[in-house]
Amino acid sequence: MTHLNPIVLFFYFAAAAGISMFSMNPVIQIFSLAGALSFFFLRNAGKRTGMHLPLFLLALLAALLNPLFQHNGATVLFVLNGNPVTKEACIYGAVTALMLLATLYWFRSFSELMTSDKILYLFGRISPKIALLLSMAMRYIPLFGAQLKKTAQTQKAMGYFKEDNAMDRIRGYMRVFSVTVTWALESGIVTADSMEARGYGEGKRSSFAVFRFYRKDGFYLMLIGALFLISVYGLATEAVAFQYYPTFGAQAPSFISTLTYIAYIMLAFLPTAAEAGEKIKWKYLQSKI
């Protein structure tokens, strides 16, 4: 996947996450999440293990919040402080949580694959300014993490965390966060001033990229495009529409709905399959040596 043209990559993530975001069909959400998870874990097996728990907790929170604030639905499970909590709202919340989780994992993989040079290549031709802005904004995310670590270490060196207890540590981390946010705001202004002083924005900007559009890219683009169009057709004709309120109601399975599901499943598992294929090929070639 990494060797594909950025246009193909961008189009793929826009299609896979976009369909998942614009459909509230539980089947599509489940396969979207499965596809996103399998691709992410195939690339990051055993790495970055600490990031999963917060994401799942966030999804759980989203699932719980919907029934507390949405009182539509015919089946009232119980009444909490005068507010009916319904089965339909709970399920809607659960599907929303699936969607949130799937989208988050798609974007994790996206930011991993789409390095800033690829973004520059993608948007550089449309508008070099936007490309610069985007790549600088995306650079700030890892930069912020690094700065957090730096601030924490500095404060530790200053003797802030010498007493070993949870309460002081929480307060310490809050202080570190606030310090880092202040740094980020200031650094943004400083960067802008510094760039202006160096003459950025004076003349017309040009861009350069090393990416070429190979035949393989064309094949992938056509495959993704076909699957995307079929899925969008299924969504547009409401063949896979799903009603939550006041009672559940799914469209009867039809030829179009089956086709849509199959197309979306293929779309969701396309990067996993490609990645797995490459890995097998790599192992195979290695074994030959």
């Binding site: 949405q70 009182h71 539509n72 639905g73 015919a74 009232v76 499970l77 119980f78 009444v79 909490l80 402080n81 005068g82 009916p84 007493e163 070993d164 207890n165 949870a166 309460m167 002081d168 929480i170 309120y245 006041p246 009672t247």
Partner: protein, 516 residues
């Protein structure tokens, strides 16, 4: 001594039974008609067995006809009324029943189902004589079963009933016009005293009056119409007094009261109120009770038939205790987890005092959360059981409609006639707003509602699964008071007596709703 009384009662019962046997031995099978009624009811409610019918339908239909069936079905002792009795106690505790006779009827039904609660004694004390003769009749039934009113004996109640006798020997609820049903029900109550000097002549006169009132078909009239219920009540009176069916006073043109009553039988096994009409639930139930009376003798002598030793007291506080107990449970869990956390901190040598302080803080916050949460079941929240209002200043009517949608959509949650709540009357207390009444209405009628905002800024987003913006950018709910749309929010509009409130679903900010 007790044994002797028991033997005596047994003998009396046997004698009674042997006297009754010939009455229904000649050519007519009671159980067929009774079972016909039961089959018909089971079919209507789509239940498999009578027990299932009792357990699932009866607790849903108070103020209906189930009370008659409980009295009748409890005679045989083969059914279990525990589910019904529990539901009934809950119902009478939560709902403010204003009619004293209705209350007494519930108390009697509860005893018949084999249970008791403090409601029974309270009703016996409070309701006697509150609503004319019928409240004495039911009070006497209750007193007969051991629940006499305060400072009154059975003899006192009997005297009061005797005072109400009309000049012609009959009885009536009000006025001086004889009423067959009331007379029959008085006779049922007086039956245990039929041998007393003061009561005997009254009973004889009432029987004479009933005899002259009997029609040529053998039936009885109420409000000028010959009907099944009157026949049924007279039959119950006769059986409790031990009068045979073919007693000369109650046979007209060779037709007995039973013949007259059975003439109301319909094809499906039910009974109709008047000849040749649709079956009526009320008539069917009372006929069923009469048939039970004919088989078993007196209906209201519940002591002999129902073992009241397994009386279950279900005090009103039960519900509150319940809601306290889950909180206690939750707090216990939180406390245990906190203690465990502290232990772990000790074991792993994180013994700074602020660590323990944090655990305490989190525990306290969780406990506070537990006490602010209030769980209710859907049945407790919705339904009739709401506390009665104080200082009621009048009534208003409320209606919820979505006429503009009836032609535009075929969604299943849009009613075909556009009426979500038909025009209903509600009592209002001083200072109540449109929103207060709307909330009361949706709770009573199980209508879904969603609103945003608070205080005077409450805004109705959805009613009956219909939400604003569901049908176009300008759609939503608006309300009219006396035909005009007020310019304030529904929680800020204070209602006065006689107001008419209508909630409309509008597609165009209320411009498509005709105003006066």
């Amino acid at each position: 001594m007790h044994k002797r009384i028991f033997v005596f009662l047994l003998c009396a019962l046997l004698v009674c039974a042997s006297v009754m046997t010939p009455v229904f031995a000649d050519g007519f099978v009671f159980s067929d008609v009774k079972n016909g009624i039961l089959d018909c009811e089971l079919q209507k409610s789509e239940k498999e067995s009578v027990q299932e019918w009792i357990d699932s339908v009866f607790p849903q239909s108070f103020e209906g006809v189930s009370e008659w069936y409980v009295l009748g079905l409890s005679q045989t002792g083969e059914y279990d009324f525990s589910a019904y009795a529990r539901a009934l106690v809950k119902y009478v505790n939560e709902k403010e029943i204003t009619n004293p006779v209705t209350k007494q009827k519930y108390a009697l039904t509860l005893l018949a189902s084999g249970y008791s609660s403090d409601f029974v004694q309270k009703t016996a004390d409070e309701c006697v004589g509150k609503l004319g003769i019928m409240s004495y009749v039911y009070a006497l039934h209750l007193a007969e079963n051991g629940f006499s009113p305060k400072d009154m004996t059975c003899a006192d109640i009997v005297d009061r009933i005797l005072e109400k006798e009309l000049d012609d020997g009959g009885f009536a609820v009000t006025g001086t016009v004889f009423d067959a049903d009331v007379t029959a029900m008085v006779l049922q109550a007086l039956a245990p005293y039929r041998n007393e000097e003061s009561v005997k002549p009254v009973i004889e006169r009432a029987l004479e009056r009933l005899s002259t009132a009997q029609t040529e078909n053998g039936g009885f009239m109420n409000y000028g119409v010959e009907n099944a219920e009157s026949c049924a009540q007279v039959l119950i009176a006769m059986s409790s007094l031990g009068i045979e069916l073919n007693d000369s006073r109650f046979v007209k043109n060779e037709a007995t009261v039973l013949d007259a009553m059975l003439s109301f039988r319909c094809v499906d096994g039910g009974f109709s109120h008047t000849l040749g009409t649709e079956p009526s639930a009320q008539a069917t139930a009372q006929v069923f009770l009469a048939l039970c009376a004919l088989e078993n003798g007196s209906l209201y002598q519940l002591k002999e038939l129902n073992d009241l030793s397994h009386i279950v007291y279900m005090p009103q506080e039960e519900k509150e205790e319940d809601s306290v107990s889950w909180r206690v449970y939750a707090v216990t869990v939180i406390a245990t987890v906190s203690v465990l956390a502290c232990l772990l901190l000790l074991i792993f040598k994180k013994r700074h005092y602020k660590n323990f302080l944090l655990v305490l803080l989190i525990g306290t916050v969780l406990c506070l959360l537990v006490f602010t949460l209030d769980f209710q079941s859907a049945d407790d929240y919705y339904g009739e059981s709401q506390t009665p209002k104080e200082n009621v200043i009048g009534t208003v009517t409320l209606e919820i409609r979505c006429d503009v949608l009836t032609d535009r959509t075929d969604l299943s949650h849009v009613p075909e006639d556009g009426v979500i709540l038909k025009k209903t009357e509600f009592e209002i207390a001083e200072g109540e707003s449109v929103f207060d009444i709307l909330e009361e209405a949706v709770r009573k009628n199980r209508i879904q509602m969603e609103y945003g905002g608070m205080g005077e800024l409450i805004y109705i987003q959805g009613l009956g699964y219909l939400y604003e913006l569901d049908h176009g950018d300008l759609s939503g709910w608006i309300y009219l008071v006396n035909g005009e749309s007020p310019s304030v929010g529904c929680a800020a509009y204070t209602l006065s007596d006689g107001d008419t409130v209508v909630w409309h679903y509008s597609l165009n900010q209320g411009k498509d709703i005709p105003q006066e």
